[in-house]
Symmetry: C2
């Protein structure tokens, strides 16, 4: 039988209330009592039950916000699922998750949503930094207000964000480079397809990819870095359209292309374009993320490998970290960066 707060109180010869004040250091406790309580805790090996705690607090529910785009559903839907799966559990722990979807990649809209959430009383926010630095000021402002921000998928490394849950993009690019080298057996011409948005992650991935190829595969040439046309719209239609144009351009200009590296989650869609062009399979396609489309194309041998993070698992991790920080659990028990890089090739799909 594990010991409870009552046992500790009895052992220390004080009341339950006092013990509570000590463990949640709320002050107003005499030095003497405090010492006795600590001694009792150690002696009885007491750990407080997070569930009883949550249950008891469930009146004062805490709110946390998650802000991410209402675009590129083929990617974010997976995040949605993770949130839905968590919601009930968190709800039972007295945590309410407010999800807000922005209709654009405009950081100003994002900042407005932060403000709305703060109005609604959130105690922390999880969001994706589309731009490396444009959120820095706002994050600092919220930091002052004691509202921690966790970045997800794409980081704002120079800001005062509490934590980043996502890939180390430079390293992810290197892994992609390694895979390209392996699949091409060290020889050939490679094109890189990026996206127009100035996500920090895109540059970093390309750098990693380049460096890896340069160091380890001198027989591979990186011909050019192409990028999707700027477009205020988003969603699959526009992607399909411009991806098609772009890919066709690449192939037509350079008939000697052996590999394509896609820095974004559009990997599967590029595969689809290649499929319709009927020149696929000859071209090694390496990219990022794990979407339904990409898995399909992996099975069709149009895509060969991707490097990704598990969106469902990672959003859960982000929520968890934020929650623990807010309730003051595990104070700085964790570093300020998280990343678990995964590789997916055809053979792993069941």
């Amino acid at each position: 039988m594990r010991s409870t707060i009552n046992d500790v109180a009895r052992e220390a010869g004080v009341s339950r209330g006092t013990v509570d004040r000590v463990i949640n250091n709320k002050g107003n406790v005499s030095k003497k009592s405090e010492e006795k309580v600590f001694a009792a805790i150690k002696k009885l090996d007491y750990v407080r039950s997070p569930f009883a705690s949550a249950l008891s607090k469930s009146g004062n529910r805490i709110k946390i916000g998650i802000v991410y785009p209402d675009l590129d559903h083929y990617y974010w839907d997976e995040v949605d699922k993770g949130i839905v799966e968590m919601k009930n559990t968190m709800d039972a722990m007295g945590v309410e998750i407010l999800t807000v979807k922005t209709k654009s990649y405009d950081y100003r809209e994002q900042i407005r949503e932060f403000e709305n959430l703060v109005q609604k009383g959130v105690k922390g926010i999880i969001t994706i930094a589309y731009h490396r630095n444009k959120l820095d000021k706002k994050i600092e402002e919220l930091y002052e207000k004691d509202i921690p921000i966790i970045t997800f998928v794409s980081d704002a490394p120079d800001s005062k964000r509490l934590y980043y849950v996502g890939l180390n993009d430079y390293k992810a690019g290197m892994t992609a480079g390694k895979l390209m080298g392996l699949y091409l057996e060290g020889r050939g011409n490679v094109a890189v397809i990026g996206v127009h948005r100035d996500l920090a992650s895109m540059e970093d991935r390309i750098r990693g990819f380049r460096d890896k190829i340069k160091i380890e595969y001198p027989g591979i040439n990186i011909l050019y870095v192409y990028s999707l046309k700027e477009d205020t719209r988003s969603g699959m239609d526009i992607y399909n359209e411009s991806l098609k144009t772009l890919t066709e351009e690449i192939i037509e200009k350079r008939l000697d292309i052996n590999g394509i590296y896609v820095t974004s989650s559009l990997t599967g869609h590029v595969g689809k374009v290649l499929e319709t062009m009927e020149i696929g399979k000859k071209i090694i396609l390496i990219g990022h993320e794990n979407t339904k489309e990409t898995r399909k194309m992996l099975l069709n041998d149009m895509v060969h490998a991707t490097v990704f993070q598990d969106q469902k698992e990672e959003i859960k991790r982000a929520v968890n970290i934020l929650w623990k920080h807010i309730i003051g659990d595990e104070e700085h028990d964790f570093p300020n960066f998280y990343s678990k890089q995964r590789i997916l090739i055809k053979e792993q799909i069941e």
Copy 2:
């Protein structure tokens, strides 16, 4: 505010007790009441709080057992860690985890431990099936007694086990085969090092590896399948000893070896042997599992890739599944097989 059991009771015009009987279908409820309760639940969108539930039950703690070997610590220590990390949480949920370590791979010792655990009142057991079929009878017996078994890491697929948490070994072997093909650029001579124990998983992995090579890499020859000498002892000493002998034998007999496939978690140790023989790096070493030794050898370029499951995460999953089954949550919401195959190459290590 989420609705509670009280709200449901009020809405349905019955008592809290009756609602409780319905949701945990304990019987002794009239058809009429039951219907009213279901209607109320649906109307109020009620979900019971697992934490309040666990808290309330925490007197009648349920026990579950985990049985695994007190050998090969370089592998099982990771599982230990997962269990330790879980223990507190599960404890707070009213679940006591009894871990028992067997001193051998003898299934009879294992069965004795099952019986001990049953004596102690466990409501379910997680264990590893060293032998494909030798546990079948016992598992059936326990199944009759309503004590579910979950196999972990190595399956007893013909038994009445509730669930298997682990790799699909045939597919894992194929992935290893693919990696070997990539790293060897489709050409060369490969030796396979297995272990002496008749784990079903070893055969399956070798089959998968062979099939993949045969289909996709005709330029690769599998020279021979070597296996460690039978030995009643275990632990690192004996491994180091026999691995060294074996590896040396292989290399001496066949100077034209280009790759080695290790079917067990000894991958890193084989890498170490190659390192001391100073012929490493020229040989592509692909294996399984993710141990400290293996990670070290990956960084040293002695090991090139491994295929594994995350031991820490997966033992947690196993406990979770067993627990949910025992308390009757999510009745058959899950299939009877789980597997998440992961690849690890040097580039992924932070």
